[in-house]
């Protein structure tokens, strides 16, 4: 009997349990811990994918909510624009282009010569366009003042074009004649929501 065999035989009660414990641990490591590790790695990948899907869903939800919020805000702003900023009907538009224009022209020191009015439907819109071609005479500085007054007035005036020329009226030598095309817009159906 060799020395090692003798030692093993003499210490069997200690050696065998110890070797068995090491063997069981190795078996647990190989058969349980490593597969569990692989399973957890798979779970981590699935968790990452789920998180990405959640992020995507959050973005989609936020986008939808933003769209709805933007729509509501745009709706509100458009409502304000169509009802409070633009003239509400022809009568208000007429006041703007007839009465207020005359007052502003007079205040700017311009003399009235002629005007022509034309309401027309705006294609593809619920709005009507009310336009005036107004001919006035005066000094250049008066014309500038009038344009400035129109720009800064509360009413919704849109100066579409300006034509300038020497006045042909007698007794107005040196003054200018200006023909302005000014428009404003109002709802075609009073009280109805636009579009």
């Amino acid at each position: 009997m060799t020395l090692w065999r003798r030692i093993l035989a003499e210490r069997r009660g200690v050696v065998v349990p110890l070797l068995a414990a090491v063997a069981v641990n190795v078996a647990v490591l190989v058969l349980v811990v490593f597969p569990l590790q692989a399973s957890v790695t798979g779970d981590e990948e699935r968790a990452t994918a789920a998180q990405m899907a959640l992020g995507e869903a959050r973005r989609a939800e936020r986008s939808a909510t933003d769209t709805r919020t933007s729509k509501l805000r745009a709706d509100e702003e458009l409502k304000t624009f169509y009802t409070d900023v633009l003239p509400s009907n022809l009568a208000v538009a007429r006041d703007l282009l007839y009465l207020q224009m005359f007052t502003l022209a007079k205040d700017a020191g311009l003399a009235f010569r002629s005007s022509s009015y034309e309401p027309e439907a705006v294609e593809g819109s619920a709005l009507m366009r009310f336009r005036v071609d107004i001919s006035l005479t005066g000094e250049y500085a008066n014309i500038r003042e009038f344009l400035y007054a129109l720009e800064t007035a509360e009413g919704f005036f849109v100066v579409e074009s300006v034509k300038l020329g020497q006045s042909t009226s007698e007794g107005l030598g040196g003054s200018l004649e200006v023909v302005l095309s000014v428009a404003t817009y109002y709802s075609n159906h009073s009280g109805a929501a636009p579009r």
């Binding site: 490591l29 709706d75 624009f81 633009l86 500038r144 300038l164 579009r195």
Partner: protein, 194 residues
């Protein structure tokens, strides 16, 4: 003379070395056991947490997607298109309303040569781009060309070009000029001008 061989049937061996080796084996067994146990507990706990998290994330994602679909369906495409059309129209009107004739004439006053007279102006605003059509009368072609160059030199006008040109009975050059306009803040009061 002494005998060198050991004639004992059960000779002594170094028990300390054997005890040390057995101790080492025991330590390995204990360390392995502890490591395995710890790792198993950690992995089990991590797996449970991950699965719970995955499940919660999937549920939340499904809920959010459903909510998004529900919100989207409350905003139908035709309403949105109509709204976009109205917004475009309103923006166009606001752009036209906010065109500053005062600023525009201020530029013209700064640039128009003595031999040129502006007789008609009409701006056109589309998608925020302003194109101004001007009818000008000049004594000479050079005067009109100088005017166009001067406009561009202000930095507020670009791509000035004549489109129609003829000569009036008075011998004046009558030119329709189209020019892009990008107004910048300028001190333009109502009064000034020639």
């Amino acid at each position: 003379m002494m005998l060198r061989g050991n004639l004992a049937t059960r000779p002594f061996y170094n028990e300390r070395v054997v005890a040390l080796l057995l101790g080492l084996l025991a330590v390995v067994a204990v360390v392995l056991t502890l490591t395995n146990a710890t790792r198993l507990m950690q992995l089990s706990s991590r797996r449970s947490a991950l699965r719970a998290q995955t499940s919660a994330d999937a549920d939340a994602a499904a809920r959010l997607r459903q909510n998004a679909v529900s919100v989207q369906s409350s905003v139908d495409a035709s309403t949105l298109n109509a709204l976009a059309g109205s917004a475009r129209e309103a923006n166009g009107l606001i752009d036209a309303r906010t065109f500053s004739w005062t600023t525009f004439f201020s530029y013209i006053e700064d640039t128009i040569p003595m031999g040129v007279r502006l007789t008609a102006v009409s701006p056109e605003i589309e998608k925020g781009n302003i194109t101004v059509t001007m009818l000008v009368m000049g004594r000479r072609v050079e005067d009109v060309a100088t005017f166009m160059t001067a406009l561009e030199n202000t930095g507020a006008f670009y791509d000035a070009r004549p489109t129609v040109a003829d000569r009036t009975d008075d011998g004046l050059e009558r030119v329709t000029v189209i020019v892009g306009y990008l107004p910048v803040a300028k001190d333009a009061s109502a009064g000034g001008g020639r």
